[in-house]
Subunit: 198 residues, 2 copies
DNA sequence: GTCTATATTTGGATAGAC
DNA sequence: GTCTATCCAAATATAGAC
């Protein structure tokens, strides 16, 4: 009897097919928005009948949830990957730029994560967890800048999230609001930082 | 033969029924969102079969367009109704407060006007016109404050629209971001006004 | 693991009678 | 002006054969 862990080819195939289905779903979302996803279409894209998808996901919502989860994990990964810098304000700046980039590079994903336009879809707690973790890192970053007020935290999510919202709503794919990130962050820091040294 | 303009009772009834249909549509939107509107349901709400609605609107999109138009007219009306004040900054402040109130008091309307979540729905030029007019007034208001930069204008729509977006997305019906309006406007004016006298 | 067959619901829209 | 009748399309999901 071998003690070597052997590959479970069955599980691998299963995971690969799940991956394929989710990838197909992202394709649809990118092309025609979240509302355009249907089991029939998804099945066709991976060479199956719609019914066969139920072998991989118990429902359409479960597919949304998986997409929601992996998007949040992606975002959290990017937050964690931000280079450590001496000035905490610089960290917030690169944070904001990264977040903006994340939001505008895929409006469909933005829609799924931040607009919740699917009736009756509530992400599971597991899918939501990475988002909360990311938000906690933002809060910590602001604290490092000397900003601890809860109102200031909300104002941060308001202005950064706001720029992204405007960009995606009014000029998806463009940069009219994206390029304002730096000056808006400067404005924010100037206003909310207790004592800005110069 | 009378020269008095007589009422066209037929036209009146027709207009009243149109009004009733649109009101029913708003009811649905407020309760379950834009996506929940269907001709069958709408018909049932006004005591008709879905098919009869086509006597009043040529399509479902036409209903959306009418809703879109009257919302923009409502908003424009509120902009025009803002009291004239000596300080242009005060005008921008009340403008921002009013806009925020407009956005959060009816998330369904907000969705229709600013998120465009209906696939294939593009508002007609007539429906869009009041919005452009309102935006022009905002631009003029900023100019009165000495702010003429296009980037500054975009930053204005970014931060005000952003607060509204955050409020509706994360805490519809609440005031966590609404109550930040004043301080965020202060921050904006401080930063973008050329020479703030004190 | 994927299929066929099917149930069920829901939707937008048209034709033509009254 | 509203109805009945109807069409057509699309959707989610289940049961059971292979």
């Amino acid at each position: 009897m071998s003690v070597v862990a052997i590959r479970d080819r069955r599980a691998e195939r299963y995971a690969a097919t799940r991956r394929e289905i989710i990838d197909a779903a992202w394709e649809v979302v990118r092309a025609d928005g979240l509302g355009a996803i249907s089991m029939r279409d998804l099945g066709a894209r991976v060479g199956m009948r719609a019914q066969s998808l139920y072998g991989y996901f118990p429902s359409k919502e479960a597919i949304f949830d998986a997409m929601f989860a992996e998007s949040n994990e992606e975002l959290l990964g990017r937050v964690e990957a931000l280079p450590t810098v001496p000035d905490p304000v610089d960290w917030m700046r690169s944070m904001a730029r990264m977040f903006m980039q994340f939001c505008v590079e895929d409006p469909g994903r933005y829609q799924l994560l931040f607009q919740r336009p699917i009736p009756n879809f509530e992400p599971s707690a597991e899918a939501l967890a990475p988002a909360l973790q990311g938000l906690a890192m933002v809060r910590a970053g602001l604290r490092d800048c000397g900003i601890t007020d809860e109102r200031a935290f909300d104002a941060w999510t308001g202005v950064t999230g706001g720029l992204a919202a405007q960009q995606n709503a009014n000029e998806p794919g463009g940069d009219r609001w994206v390029r304002l990130v730096d000056e808006v962050i400067d404005m924010y820091i100037e206003h909310y930082r207790p004592n800005t040294p110069r």
